[in-house]
Symmetry: C2
Subunit: 224 residues, 2 copies
């Protein structure tokens, strides 16, 4: 079964890389839409999520089909099951990009994020995009060292998230409750997006090394 | 393969029912801890999540082992793959209960939720607990009608969530930003918990009927 099987597996892996590319692009554009109050861009991100969902379903069906036809065992089986999970992680990243775009749309023509928080949110968006780009690379290269790098990037997002909260909880906050709610949710969307990207990389590490640092969990270490 | 296979599958299904019971109980206790500012109860919910994670991993491993040994195809294969997803949904419910408990712990000895919002949050907590209890029932009975009921309960949670937001965004809000942030996050935790419970029920419907209303998705319809 080796050849046909591995060709199909490579093709699923290529699909996952494409999925990572799509959701990274979506989060980048959602961040721009959020900070620029760009309604058309927000709408395009929201609409494009269907493409992500379709690819996710296609990859799921191909993986299940592969299980049925090739009946892999041991490592081969783990790879297919893991690809199902990675597809789910990436699909969820697409949802979170869509959520950010929806906040942008909701507040248009205002910007949901006050000017003084733009640098933090911009950096969270850029880091999130980079994290999922690296996750895509890790899927295609199986590079364990690169995978471990994602943990550091995720720490950087967590630090920005804490910084966002310190602004929110500062007595001098003067942007009102609605903006506080928006910023709270947006911050969580970026954090969850990053968690799912890290989760993808961890799954690759586990496949390659057979070891997992903090549990081969279906969900990444949850955002607190 | 029929007998051994179906016995093992039943045992996984029993495990999923137990998982649903554990996370329902956790969310009930987390809600009490939140509203009563009960630190000991909050701590116990946080500690008990490990049991949920362990059971989740055990069920995952048993499902993968079953795939490897029995090599099911067609519907049987779908059932095992779906059980992996249901376990992930329920594990995530456990995380969300833990998140609620952590908010309670963070604000102790204060209560994170102001008194005037207690009835709404209490009802969200009760509905969330009921939703996952019904999801557990649906897993064991494969009752499609009961599964469809969950959608209605989820609508009720969404309505409460909107009510929570209308309080947050009311000009007369006087509980400050920190409480607004807490309430925003807690509201989202209940909503996501409910989404995952609904997702479990939908997966059962799909297995039984072969039809899915809005996509056989890995993630439920996302909270907006």
């Amino acid at each position: 079964m080796r050849d046909a099987y591995h060709e199909e597996l490579d093709s699923i892996s290529d699909g996952l890389v494409e999925l990572a590319r799509l959701v990274g692009s979506a989060m980048g554009r959602a961040t721009t839409a959020l900070l620029d109050a760009d309604l058309a861009l927000a709408e395009s991100v929201i609409a494009a999520d269907e493409k992500v969902n379709n690819l996710h379903h296609e990859l799921e069906n191909r993986a299940i089909d592969l299980l049925a036809r090739q009946q892999p065992v041991a490592t081969d089986l783990r790879i297919v099951v893991t690809s199902l999970r990675m597809s789910a992680d990436l699909e969820r990243c697409g949802d979170l990009a869509r959520h950010v775009a929806k906040v942008a749309r909701l507040r248009y023509p205002e910007t949901a994020v006050p000017n003084d928080l733009h640098p933090i949110v911009l950096e969270m968006g850029q880091l999130a995009q980079r994290l999922v780009a690296k996750a895509g690379l890790v899927i295609s290269t199986k590079d364990v060292d690169a995978a471990l790098e994602l943990e550091r990037d995720d720490d950087a997002i967590d630090a920005l998230h804490r910084e966002l909260f310190s602004h929110l909880l500062d007595d001098r906050w003067q942007h009102g409750i609605e903006t506080a709610v928006d910023v709270t949710l947006v911050g969580r969307y970026y954090e969850r997006f990053a968690d799912h990207a890290v989760s993808v990389a961890k799954r690759v590490v586990f496949l390659v090394t057979g070891e997992h640092a903090d549990g081969f969990t279906q969900e990444p270490v949850a955002a607190e």
